[in-house]
Symmetry: C2
DNA sequence: TGCGATTTGTCCGTATGTATT
DNA sequence: TAATACATACGGACAAATCGC
């Protein structure tokens, strides 16, 4: 019954809460709500034409996804970003993704490779169009491949949490610095190594990939 | 201004929502709410003498902690447990804890060792008393040491999520099988290796430690 | 320091949509 | 298919805490 999707296809958010959550997330990733900015419930409530109950629940879910932060009686704010946070995000991604590859390596299949190829091509072509929001989703989907291959639900949960932060930084990077299509070869090399015979080479490449990504974002933020 | 506490000392939950969350968590860990059991909002609302708004927010937070699951229009249930979930939990813990030790290794200090000793002794003495709830918290605190030593907030967040699931399985293990004081030597060896000179020996021990823990819980569940 | 305005936290009654039997 | 139980959502109200002057 469930499509084998990641959370890419909303299809339809059944509850108002889910719709609100998506709208706020879009505003954050789109740069309308900037890091550190205060979100006032009554204002949001009237803007989005929803009552405070589902709004507050949506906000709490975004807190648990790491998009927002909250303190009792002080309300919600967009998560502030720092170089330290970014550093932690990349080191965490590196550790999780290495773990994922170690698990996924013997589980790779021809169908899996075909799917990875598809996501690779989608990513490359959407990058060319300059549609930032879609490019981010494609980038996430591309990297999600290895996690899905592990068939490890808990690991996928933790990746999902990380991916939200990745989205924030990618959108920030783009909003500040413009597109970053300069990683084309890196992406293709990543795909080829996934399809190759050496796990060690793959793990080594992840370190490089992450380090380069980190440097690039840091440079853009400064 | 903040005390250097983990989440061990509630001190006082300022919001009703936080108090409700704790009460429900206690009921789950205490075995009053069993895995898979349905939680009806109106019933809980009147039992706990709170309105449904903060109750629902508390329930959502527990969902995000992995304690409960929910589906639109079908309500909340205590997270069902399976051998697969347990296996994933232990493999995830192994991966994260190895990563934590690699980071923490050069950051260890004499004060840190003193703190670890304290937690070790607390754990051993509380195990002797048979107070299950406190023993679980001490066990969690003992293992939290390495994560705190890393000074890596994002990693600590992910450990916090895992720790909630660990609590569930430990309480389940106890409720079904009785206390498990048979791990005394293992715990002491873990502490000694933390204090020792070989990171590799530590990492190897983590594998053994987790494998034994997994086998023990699986045996109790069957 | 205090005081008023703003905002969050909580409660209640009601109405509607969904799942289940 | 109908009936019931329940989750979802609304709007108004007030208390409690924070914020700004």
């Amino acid at each position: 019954m469930n499509a084998p999707t990641t959370e890419l296809s909303p299809i339809e958010d059944r509850t108002l809460r889910a719709q609100v959550r998506r709208q706020i997330l879009d505003r954050v990733l789109g740069g309308h709500f900037k890091p550190g900015e205060r979100l006032v419930e009554t204002a949001l409530s009237s803007q989005l034409r929803v009552s405070r109950a589902p709004l507050r629940e949506a906000l709490r879910e975004l807190v648990d996804q790491g998009i927002l932060v909250s303190e009792p009686y002080k309300g919600f704010r967009v998560r502030p970003v720092s170089e330290r946070d970014l550093k932690e995000l990349f080191s965490m991604r590196t550790a999780l993704e290495k773990f994922a590859f170690a698990l996924a390596w013997p589980l790779r299949t021809p169908q899996g490779f075909a799917e990875l190829d598809k996501r690779h091509d989608d990513l490359m072509s959407i990058r060319a169009t300059g549609d930032q929001a879609k490019a981010i989703e494609c980038e996430i989907a591309f990297h999600a491949w290895v996690y899905e291959t592990t068939d490890h639900r808990l690991l996928m949960d933790h990746w999902a949490r990380l991916s939200h932060l990745v989205r924030i930084y990618m959108s920030l990077h783009h909003n500040l610095h413009g597109s970053h299509g300069e990683f084309g070869e890196m992406t293709t090399r990543y795909r080829d190594l996934c399809n190759g015979g050496s796990l060690d080479a793959m793990l080594l490449h992840i370190d490089e990939h992450m380090t380069q990504g980190f440097d690039s974002v840091v440079k853009a933020l400064k």
